[in-house]
């Protein structure tokens, strides 16, 4: 069974090869962005992006953009 997480307020099915937060960011093509990640209401420090993603995790990602 694949994992299903809550990603930015929506249900999201994680593909099997994505096991960590870092892999999720790369899968979402956000790997080279300046961003902040929250996992289960806790901000993740950048050196903790190898944290595993578990079923039903709540993940929020906010990336910074230039425009306005």
């Amino acid at each position: 069974m694949g994992k299903t997480i809550d990603l930015n307020g929506k249900s999201y099915s994680v593909v099997p090869e994505v096991e960590t937060v870092q892999q999720l960011l790369e899968h979402l093509e956000l790997g080279n962005r300046i961003l902040i990640v929250e996992k289960n209401k806790e901000i993740l420090q950048k050196d903790s992006y190898d944290a595993p993603i578990m079923d039903r995790d709540q993940i929020e990602i906010i990336h910074f953009v230039g425009g306005g």
Binding site: N8, K10, I43, E60, F64, V65, G66, G68
Partner: protein
Amino acid sequence: MSKYSRQELFTPIGADGQLRIRGAKVFVLGAGALGSSGAEMLVRAGVGELTIVDRDILEWSNLHRQQLYAEQDVVEQLPKAAAAERRLRQINSDVKIRGVVADVTPENVLELFEGHDMVLDGTDNIETRLLANDACLQLNIPFFMGACVGSYGLTFPIGVAEEQPCLHCLLEVLPPQSLTCDTVGVISPIVVTTAARQVAQLLKYVTGAELDPRLESTDLWTDERASMEVKNMKKSSCPSCSAQPSHPFLSASEVVRTAVLCGRDTVQLTWPKNRQVELAPFADSIRETVSNLLHNPYLVSCEYNDHRLVLFRDGRMLIHGTKDITEARKIAAGLLG
């Protein structure tokens, strides 16, 4: 019936809140999409004074989302700050409105912000946001950050609560390139949504309501949203907001500065204050060399060697059609020596 009666009827504002709004002096940083939308809301809300600054002139590609402008403004090649000032004065004559055609730089940012109670973010790049972050921290006024591209926008109010992080704490490093409206496009609903959130935060602050400094984002197309409690991201060693800050983004240089405007195929050259070029003599001097010469009180624009050049009164030249700083300097040198 008062212009603001429906706003005063809204209990959290009331007559007392309206008086506080009337007393607010707001600086709007940028007169593009967010700046247009935010400034219009603030002027209609009846703030006391509003200064809006922008370095650019209007283009056709601005009109789908920059709500203060109309086709005639583009035809006249008006600077955004001048067109914004004109339109905002039509909207509400109670408000003291000033449009300033200028690039906000380390040299002038403190002088520009001084005398205002807060800054609303309408800029289009992260570097200027970090500059504003430093300047607002130094002046001890809040900065209502907002940014958007595509259908995605984010907001973060800075300087509104004790012990909160600043933008520099959150970003740590300046990204070499970030997404812009010129590279990935933008739709107007996210502009209005982002500006609405910034202005709501500003009004809450002004009227003394409790304001939680959360980092928030919305994507109107994918219907995703996030809202983060970021208090513990405050860094005690942050160069911008620690006990002994150095405000690194306020450091100015005395040379002609160059900047490639991201995604615009345009280079901007900025002359220091003591070496500025006068518009009228410059226009006369190039009349025979260039084509499509246009001279108004704000700028000189022309075509030269297949490039469009615009020289502003504040000492900036935009050279369109190149991303190459060396080539841009050469083109400028071709006309200015």
